[in-house]
Symmetry: C2
Subunit: 419 residues, 2 copies
């Protein structure tokens, strides 16, 4: 009875949410199997101890067992165009392995020899310049951990009925890596910017000639020409030999296979910044160049396909991020938003990077509705889905950062719900 | 002349070291090629724009071009035993891709099905416990970016003459990743520690039965049972299904393929903690259980095999780390230690993680000797090689954290030197 009271005292919100300090002790889990003959258990050498293992290798590979996590590739896609998604619900932490970083290509992955690639800086400049890959390697570099999110990520949240897919399928146009490269401002300053230059058009060397206009102010802020991802040269699917990287902005603007930067007095208003990547509102107007990603969080565990395996202690875990600096806090609700408790955040909490949150939860077997709500350093709070729909209507697919919800039934099955 | 004076004013130490703020502007590089016909340069579409590229894939791969960096695998090694090294000199930032994390196996890489693996906690405990992989997935997790360094790393610095190999060959028993797992203290508390328990013996399920004794205090501090590396389940070569991870300690103690933890009243004094991984001193005594790695830094660029390609601006770049918290500063010398200047550090600077340092340098074509010297938050300073040799003698191969030096000749060729 006393034990029960103490347990109750640690509850900080409805539905069984515990204080985040409970993550520091695992006494509530007790998942270890009791054994009576430890000597026998420890003495039985497994097969792996009976013969030498595999040799050294030049590039490590993953296990052939079910542990080999794959990107989510659609069964049908237009030749050359499409996207694969990071299986976020099967991953941990915040760093995405390079092989699992989401892909979005508009005409396939080009095969470019870095030694043959050139980057042209031209337009409203004092002197047009041409940079080879080796030229760029001579410039000062810097490294930053940054998320990349496609602005079409989580667009299914705009569907009339909640689609029943995994959290990775729903939100996996999102990844995070340590990027290293050259400051874009260095190259622009070297070329010399004309006073009337206010926009930069970036073009990729892929067969779609992916082209986006970017305000010059963003290019002079913290934009990077990225050459390395998680330490190694970019993979072809991430833009080898070089890509633009705009911290906190929609992924599409971080043009891959970058070959051209043109300084201009106005945006080009290309297809990918007018017909596409533009947010039509219910009032009939559209948000153009809404490049900066909003504050957002998603619960990855539990989620659709990752049902609860029994009552008692569970860790609710997910990711939070914002295009406006750092995440300040993430709150979690287990009762559909009636009450909220603050989650623990794994450090370091970095600007324009993913932040992992964790919330201890005692599930008593009753149906529950799980939600997460992030707040960033500017005080911006992730919106309710209803507010989102009121602004953009059903079916608008860009820049969705609305709160998502997972319903848990009495059997522990998890479903995507609107709450 | 005025230009030259301004340039000179920015020099902060001998041999052409510039103030680290010079990294923020690249005006001194000017590597971009001037062009007179920008329209023609931008108009010539490369082959990659003329046909659709490759399709989406479940797990991204690297380019087939020379950009595919490999681990350094020795030509000869004993069957089942050996090490491969991270090619640090070819990488950037601080995160090591999982496929490039160094390997050290004592009898090869076992192939273990996580579903069949068990972890036994026994010895001086109230109740022996057996944990399956799925059991551990129920416990609270946390993520941390941590280095792992073999205590035999950089042992070549103890050779009588400087060996001429790459910085990766010399120092590549060092990697860094974001690890996610369960606190070891949780499992020990659940089993219940007897009052006389002061050591924990960890055993791997490999064919060497790698076994190390670790002070219980370290296990109750921040030790982790790691299940994920850079987001994905561990690779077999890194310990799938689970490994011990002791932040800041020598890699050998972070036992891979962990199958057994035995609480004891004294260390087992096994082969790997007496005959091996023990530091024999010139006074005839040996340092046992010198688990915590010392403060250290290495210059990776320029380095042997990465010669300078001409006079003028260069970025000197490398890594610093310590087993005692965070790196406080890294100083660089271009005149063999006569004068030093403080390098810029890429954030975040995390405890027991790698920190990337960068130093702008104007090379005037004269011979130079480059060195780096790290200081950690405890005030510990990386020792000179001479002090190191005085303590341990020539040929002692463990825990070498002595200052290293690269000599640059008038042709820009880089050689390993003792200075």
């Amino acid at each position: 009875m006393i034990e029960e009271d103490r347990d109750r005292a640690e509850h900080v919100a409805g539905g069984g949410l515990l204080h985040r300090r409970a993550l520091l002790t695992a006494a509530m889990v007790s998942a270890g199997g009791l054994i009576t003959n430890a000597a026998a258990a420890g003495g039985a050498a497994p097969a792996s101890m009976l013969k030498p293992g595999a040799p050294l290798s030049g590039y490590g590979t993953r296990a052939s067992s079910g542990a080999a996590v794959q990107r989510i590739v659609p069964k049908l896609s237009f030749p050359g165009s499409g996207s694969s998604r990071t299986p976020l619900h099967l991953l941990e932490g915040t760093i995405t392995p390079n092989g699992l970083h989401f892909e979005r290509h508009h005409n396939g992955v080009p095969d470019i020899d870095p030694a043959q690639h050139e980057l042209l800086v031209h337009g409203l400049v004092r002197q047009p310049l041409l940079f080879r890959y080796d030229d760029l390697l001579r410039y000062p570099r810097h490294s930053r951990i940054l998320f990349v999110e496609c602005s079409g990520n989580s667009s299914a949240i705009g569907a009339p009925q909640p689609v029943q897919v995994s959290a990775g399928q729903l939100n996996g146009l999102l990844s995070c890596a340590e990027w290293t490269g050259v400051r874009l401002s260095s190259l622009l300053e070297e070329a010399g910017m004309a006073p009337q230059a206010t926009w930069v058009q970036a073009e990729g060397a892929d067969a779609a000639a992916m082209t986006r206009s970017i305000p010059l102010s963003l290019c002079l802020d913290d934009a990077m020409i990225a050459l390395f991802q998680n330490g190694e040269p970019l993979m072809p699917s991430q833009g080898l030999p070089m890509r633009l990287l705009l911290p906190g902005m929609e992924g599409n603007a971080s043009v891959k296979w970058l070959r051209r930067l043109k300084l201009m007095a106005a945006p080009a208003l290309s297809r990918e910044e007018t017909a596409k990547y533009t947010d039509l509102r219910t009032d009939g107007k559209a948000d153009l160049f809404s490049l900066r990603m909003g504050v957002k969080s998603i619960i990855l565990r539990p989620s659709f396909g990752l049902d609860l395996r029994g009552r008692g202690y569970q860790e609710i875990s997910g990711l939070a991020w914002t295009g406006r600096g750092r995440i300040r806090s993430v709150e979690v609700s287990a009762d559909g938003g009636a009450s909220w408790a603050e989650a623990a955040l794994d450090g370091p909490i970095l600007p324009a990077a993913l932040t992992r949150f964790r919330m201890p939860w005692h599930w008593n077997g009753a149906p529950a509705v799980l939600m997460s709500r992030a707040t960033d350093q500017t005080g911006a709070v992730q919106p309710q889905r209803a507010a989102w729909i009121a602004r953009y209507g059903v079916g608008q697919g860009y820049h969705s950062n609305a709160i998502q919800a997972w319903g848990v039934d009495a059997q522990g099955r998890v479903a995507h719900v609107y709450a």
